[in-house]
């Protein structure tokens, strides 16, 4: 009782509406501390941790991308209509979308299942079920049945970035979020939250059994203050610094690209995925299929982001944004490929939560993303134009070539290696 009261007192003194503020938000948003019937684990009153988060992170009736919403309810997405949120991590609503199409006259119908569109968080109150196709994290052991928001995000936001750049779970109190361009910098007596409240070394939700504790700390990155928005007019640039790939490897250790292992489905990332001057030149000159007239200062494409290979927050803050004022491509020395160069962290309109459709020959065909209403849809693959366009965050299809190849070619001109 005294604990509860203390917690309320401390937490209500924060700003009105920043909720987690980079650390632990008011307990009462996630726990029913006393006084009601029934019981739940850790006093939670959702069916599971993800449902607890979605009480706030899914807003039924939301009509467009805004704020911290990362899920669209089924009731807001009839046939042919896409999820509505456009955050860098992606809208989990894509997990609710199934696509079936006929590629050509000689082939059987093909399917892209909802479960293939990203991380299947388990949230019973919101009809998100465990992945039916993977029992555990590919190249890892994390069980799909235990995958929730708190598998990745620490609900109590204990990990903090200190003034000396170190990450720890204790020490100076967390003053605010550390995720944004406008976030405060850590001071000698206050720290800031790590990027997106992600779990760091030794993190493992208490309710998940097994030896799954994270080996790597959260990535260093900075998001623009407005991050949930249409990219029709300008791109949303998250400035990824370092450590994202290593962080993903907390659960996908086997995705680690062992040089020369020849293992399929790995791509050099992190330090082994240094872009180098040849690939940087390719990235910078690539505008679209058939147009290699781009320049280093304006070549950035939010569908193919990279890590800058630095952990200097000040320079990352200068690079994150939404007005396109910083649109430079990769640095030939420090920049590196990371998992999120190709994937989104939550979900996307394409298989494996990829940022673009890697399973088609042309991501734009005949000027359109889709082949809506046509009998055979080898390129559009069952999506409506609206769905495909949202999956590309509203970037107009005219940005690309009339027949546009896979965006792997942003870095690999000519045939893929």
């Amino acid at each position: 009782m005294v604990m509860t009261l203390m917690a309320i007192l401390i937490n209500t003194e924060k700003t009105v509406s920043a909720f987690h503020s980079g650390g632990v938000g008011p307990c009462d948003a996630c726990h029913v501390m006393h006084g009601t019937s029934g019981s739940g684990s850790a006093l939670l009153r959702g069916s599971d941790p993800s449902s607890t988060c979605l009480h706030c992170h899914e807003r039924p009736g939301s009509i467009g991308p805004s704020g911290h919403h990362i899920s669209t309810p089924a009731s807001d997405m009839q046939q042919g209509m896409p999820p509505r949120q456009l955050t860098p991590g992606g809208d989990f609503g894509w997990l609710r979308k199934i696509y079936i199409w006929v590629p050509d006259v000689s082939q059987a119908p093909a399917t892209s299942y909802g479960d293939q569109h990203g991380h299947n968080i388990v949230a019973a109150d919101y009809s998100y079920l465990p992945d039916a196709l993977h029992a555990a994290a590919p190249r890892g052991t994390y069980p799909s049945a235990s995958l929730t928001c708190i598998s990745c995000h620490d609900p109590h936001g204990r990990y903090r970035r200190n003034i000396d750049g170190t990450t720890m779970t204790n020490g100076n109190p967390i003053g605010s979020s550390g995720s944004y361009v406008s976030s405060a910098d850590p001071q000698s007596i206050t720290s800031v939250g790590v990027y997106r409240l992600l779990g760091g070394k030794n993190y493992q939700p208490r309710s998940v059994a097994g030896n799954l504790a994270f080996l790597n700390d959260p990535p260093v990155a900075v998001a623009p203050d407005e991050y949930n928005r249409s990219e029709a007019a300008s791109q949303t640039r998250v400035a990824y610094g370092t450590g994202m790939s290593e962080w993903c490897q907390n659960c996908h250790p086997g995705m680690h690209p062992v040089a020369g292992s020849g293992a399929p489905r790995t791509h050099p990332v992190g330090i082994t995925g240094r872009i180098g001057s040849a690939v940087a030149n390719a990235y910078n000159s690539y505008v679209r299929t058939g147009d290699l007239t781009g320049s280093a200062a304006t070549s950035f494409l939010s569908l193919v982001p990279f890590e800058e290979g630095v952990s200097d927050i000040a320079s990352l803050k200068a690079h994150a944004g939404t007005d396109g004022s910083f649109a430079a491509g990769p640095d030939p020395v420090s920049s590196q490929v990371m998992c999120l160069t190709c994937h989104r962290a939550h979900a996307s309109g394409w298989n494996e939560a990829l940022r673009w459709n890697t399973r088609t020959e042309y991501i734009v065909y005949n000027g359109l993303y889709s082949q809506e209403a046509q009998a055979y849809q080898p390129y559009g693959q069952g999506r409506t134009e609206l769905e495909a366009q949202k999956a590309y965050y509203d970037i107009p299809s005219g940005t690309f070539a009339v027949n546009q190849d896979s965006l792997c070619h942003k870095c690999h001109t000519g045939a893929l290696p």
């Binding site: 006393h34 039924p60 805004s66």
Partner: protein, 319 residues
């Protein structure tokens, strides 16, 4: 229980003091109102396992209009589906609806790319007769994107839940007044993006009722800009965890749904807590994440839930 003026609500220290006070003085006048479960909305095949959706209950006909999957389904006074419209997407993306006294329907809908909204005047069968051109949106308040529509005595209310902006127009769509709720509540610019409104409905005198879940607050805004807000975070009965919708009953009490507690709370006119019903569980009268509320003239409360629990109808009893 102290009645919080909104300015105090916005100061952390004052909240902390009030919390302390109410911790000691909380007394619920339980037993003055109770609720019993009647049935769930259904079609010929049985209960419809809606997951979310919006609801509007017509107090004249005691019919319920449910918007889900871009289809409006109409249920009769006994909770059986009688009619549906919009399912062929001919009305755009339906955001909300309201009923006029003459049985006509006002539909708020968006173009398929969500760029533009329109208010459609439809007959009682949902057939559009014409669009009502909304004009006079106050400049300088940004892009106005309403998500709620309401109707009261010849006036159309449109509410943007992100910008916390409410406008009131006449039946021709000419905006007569607007309410910049962020300004009235004195919310700092940088806090605004996260303080989105969830539930919205009208009080019996045309005042606006709405919830700000992340602020643990429900408010009533009168037409002359008098703002009364209430709510404190907490697990005790009547406190707010994560609230969603708010409506008034036929006697001027307020019903506020709480998603985390999975209850519907009932407060009197002075926002004093009276009773709560629902609670998480598998029983027919239990609730799973109540999202939207409606009430008819027979004191029947409709509760739209998540988790494929459909829409439960309860009867309120006063003594």
């Amino acid at each position: 229980m102290p009645h919080l003026p909104h300015h105090d609500k916005l100061s952390g220290i004052c909240i902390a003091m009030v919390v302390l006070l109410t911790m000691m003085t909380i007394t619920a006048e339980a037993g003055t109102v109770s609720a019993s479960y009647l049935y769930s909305l259904s079609d010929h095949a049985g209960d419809i396992l809606y997951e979310g959706g919006k609801i509007f209950v017509d107090p004249e006909m005691n019919e319920a209009y449910v918007i889900s999957n871009n289809t409006v389904t109409v249920f009769n006074r006994t909770g059986l589906e009688v009619y549906r419209f919009g399912e062929n997407n001919n009305l755009g993306i339906i955001a909300d609806l309201a009923l006029m006294q003459n049985g006509n329907i006002l539909l708020l809908s968006y173009s398929r790319d969500y760029r533009n909204y329109q208010v459609l005047l439809c007959n009682y069968r949902g057939e559009p007769t014409r669009a009502i051109e909304i004009s006079g949106v106050p400049a300088g308040l940004g892009d106005f994107r309403p998500g709620h529509i309401a109707y009261y005595q010849g006036r159309i209310y449109l509410v943007d839940q992100v910008r916390l902006l409410a406008v009131i127009a006449d039946e021709h769509g000419q905006i007569e007044r607007h309410y910049d709720i962020f300004r009235i509540l004195n919310v700092k610019k940088k806090d605004r993006v996260n303080a989105q409104m969830d539930g919205f409905s009208l009080d019996r005198d045309g005042s606006m009722l709405f919830t700000l879940p992340v602020m643990f607050t429900a408010c009533r805004l009168s037409l002359d800009e008098k703002m009364d807000c209430f709510g404190q975070p907490g697990g005790a009965k009547g406190r707010f965890n994560v609230i969603s919708d708010i409506i008034t009953d036929n006697r001027g009490n307020y019903l506020v749904a709480d998603k985390l507690k999975s209850v519907v709370n009932i407060y009197d006119k002075e926002f004093t807590f009276l009773e709560a019903f629902g609670y998480r569980g598998a029983g027919p009268g239990n609730l799973t994440v109540p999202l939207r509320l409606g009430i008819d003239s027979r004191d029947r409360v409709y509760v739209v839930q998540s988790g494929r629990r459909g829409i439960s109808v309860f009867s309120l009893h006063y003594n």
